[in-house]
């Protein structure tokens, strides 16, 4: 047999072994992820029949006015509660925009605050002690998320730790009220919750930078600041981009934090989906909001990737 034929046969058996091996997780993901997502999309185009779905195609869960239907004994439908489609309802639109705004604010705050920490661990900590620093940074992240959110309520509240501390020090005369039950509280709490998600990818990118490049920059007469700006930062950008996406995507769908510390003006899109699904039992309307949120997240993420494409060329991180 020719060498070429042998190679081809080997590639073919490689392909079938690979497919065999990957099939359990792949089938699992198709049944429990892909199919449900398709169904979610389908639901959003069907009619709500209070606790059930009526197979009547409609666009009204997105645009225009909709009505939940009641199925009569003879099979005809009577409209009951009217509601507005996700894109037509000013309330849903406002919540959607607010979620986007909060997610952007959280992402910017988290990444900007995290960068110097990642930089410190990568450039100033001795190699042997780096894992200890990373371990210290990741521990708070693995403690109960719900309890952490609740504790922020304790810290930021009217009689909270922060206010009583500042009052005790005489720095303020009255408790601060702008830090709980609004969007600020949501941003602070989420920036805390997602800190390690931002630090780790930036740290990994910084670790990959060839240190001799920085020396070269300085040898060629650049100041430290200019070296950072023109060498370090562009090389760290893949990490920054990853950090931005890893923080932005889950934050926009967060439920607990806005529910606990957000108050009425801090409510986000997940709270809206919950309301439609488990309180109003309107699955098509809830699905339409969920699909819209997913489209929003995806398009913002893709736009962000596109804007940063020059930093990502040639790297897979």
């Amino acid at each position: 047999m020719s060498l070429q034929g042998l190679k081809r046969r080997r590639a073919r058996s490689d392909a079938s072994s690979g497919l065999m091996l990957v099939s359990p997780p792949a089938i699992y993901a198709v049944i429990l992820l892909a199919a449900p997502l398709v169904l979610l999309l389908l639901y959003s185009f069907l009619t709500d029949g209070y606790l059930s779905i009526i197979w009547e195609f409609t666009l009204c869960n997105y645009v225009g006015e909709c009505a939940s239907m009641q199925q009569n004994a003879d099979g005809t439908l009577t409209p009951t509660t009217p509601y507005l489609g996700a894109w037509s309802d000013p309330v849903v639109r406002a919540v959607m925009l607010r979620s986007l705004g909060i997610a952007v604010a959280v992402t910017v705050a988290t990444v900007v605050l995290a960068f110097p920490v990642a930089y410190f661990v990568s450039f100033y900590v001795k190699p042997g002690r780096k894992s200890m620093w990373l371990f210290l940074i990741t521990i708070p992240f693995w403690t109960s998320y719900l309890i952490r959110v609740f504790l922020w309520k304790v810290i930021l509240g009217y009689n909270g730790v922060l206010n009583s501390g500042l009052l005790g020090l005489g720095l303020i005369e009255e408790p601060l009220t702008f830090i709980l039950y609004n969007a600020n509280a949501v941003v602070i709490t989420l920036a805390h919750a997602y800190a390690p998600f931002a630090i780790l990818p930036i740290f990994v990118a910084l670790e990959k930078i060839d240190r001799s490049l920085l020396e070269a920059g300085q040898d060629l007469g650049e100041s430290r600041l200019m070296t950072f700006w023109r060498v370090t930062l562009p090389l760290a950008m893949p990490g920054v981009v990853a950090a931005v996406l890893i923080v932005f995507i889950p934050v926009i769908g967060d439920y607990v934090t806005p529910q606990q510390v957000g108050g009425p003006e801090g409510r986000m899109v997940a709270n809206m989906i919950y309301l439609q699904y488990l309180r109003l039992d309107n699955y098509p309307a809830g699905s339409a909001i969920a699909v819209s949120a997913m489209v929003l997240v995806t398009s913002v993420s893709l736009l962000f990737l596109f804007l940063n494409r020059r930093f990502l060329k040639g790297s897979k991180g």
């Binding site: 497919l19 997780p25 993901a29 504790l151 304790v154 439920y255 607990v256």
Partner: protein
């Protein structure tokens, strides 16, 4: 080294910010008062006793442990398949398949929760702890793959070829050569998915039906101020538990790296 000191100061301040809420936990867990605020009232262990006698809480703990253990084992098994396939073989549509399996990593959890909820409802499957396990395996698998990928990548393929040349079958090679070498990765992947599942709220909230998990129970108790000190006591124990588990995971991860002769490149994720 003025800059170094500046950065170190900042990093330490950042650690204070990261640990601020957690330091409060034991303070209020041992505080003799129902109101979670300063000044502290005095030392007590009654919240731990109350917690120990709380039947609903213990039931939630039991549910959570069943879910986390099952999810960790199932997700790690799926992760072994996927990571082995991804690192060792070339196959058609590899990018698309791996992309789908890793998708939960970049999907807001609420979307996973409602879409699964919709399917189960459509099929008329009742919501129990088993439905929560289905969801948790889905979100844990990408983490296990990320961890196991690096274990499988550092394997020397010639070891495997040598074993086959010496007459071992594919399966016995896997069992005798590969498995022991990736064992540290498997242990840390089990621990990480256990921790993720134990702490996961929104999927459990949607899929648990009438059998609350620990986070779902905790969430429901936040409405009753009198119950909160008990939750603080519980939180203290959970923190100790996860720190211990993480320390073990970190130990095995490092040992794995040392075993395969690699360089330590950092923490989890």
């Amino acid at each position: 080294m003025k800059a170094a000191r500046l950065f170190k100061g900042y990093a330490l301040a950042y650690l204070v910010f990261l640990y601020a809420p957690i330091i409060l936990l034991p303070l209020f867990a041992f505080n003799d008062g129902t109101i979670i605020a300063f000044p502290l009232q005095g030392f007590t262990t009654k919240w731990f006793e109350a917690m120990w006698n709380n039947v609903t809480l213990l039931k939630a703990v039991k549910n959570s442990l069943i879910i986390s253990c099952s999810s960790a084992v199932l997700a790690t098994c799926l992760g072994i398949f996927a990571a082995r396939a991804a690192t060792r073989y070339k196959f058609p549509a590899k990018g698309a398949i791996m992309g789908l399996v890793m998708l939960p990593l970049v999907l807001p959890e609420i979307i996973v929760a409602v879409s699964l909820f919709g399917v189960l409802l459509g099929l008329g499957i009742p919501l129990t702890i088993w439905t929560v396990i289905l969801g948790h395996v889905l979100i844990c698998t990408p983490y296990t793959i990320a961890i196991l990928n690096s274990s499988f990548q550092s394997l020397d393929q010639s070891l495997e070829e040598a074993a086959i040349d010496l007459g071992e079958t594919q399966w016995s090679t896997f069992r005798l050569i590969i498995l022991p070498l990736v064992a540290p990765g498997i242990i840390s992947s089990l621990l990480i998915s256990f921790t993720i599942s134990l702490d996961e709220f929104i999927i459990a909230f949607f899929l648990a039906g009438t059998e609350p998990t620990l986070p779902v129970y905790i969430f429901s108790q936040f409405r009753f101020p009198a119950k909160v000190p008990e939750i603080m006591a519980l939180g203290t124990i959970l923190v100790l538990l996860s720190v211990t588990l993480l320390a073990i995971a970190e130990y095995f991860r490092r040992r794995g790296i040392a075993k395969s002769g690699g360089k330590d490149t950092g923490g989890f994720l």
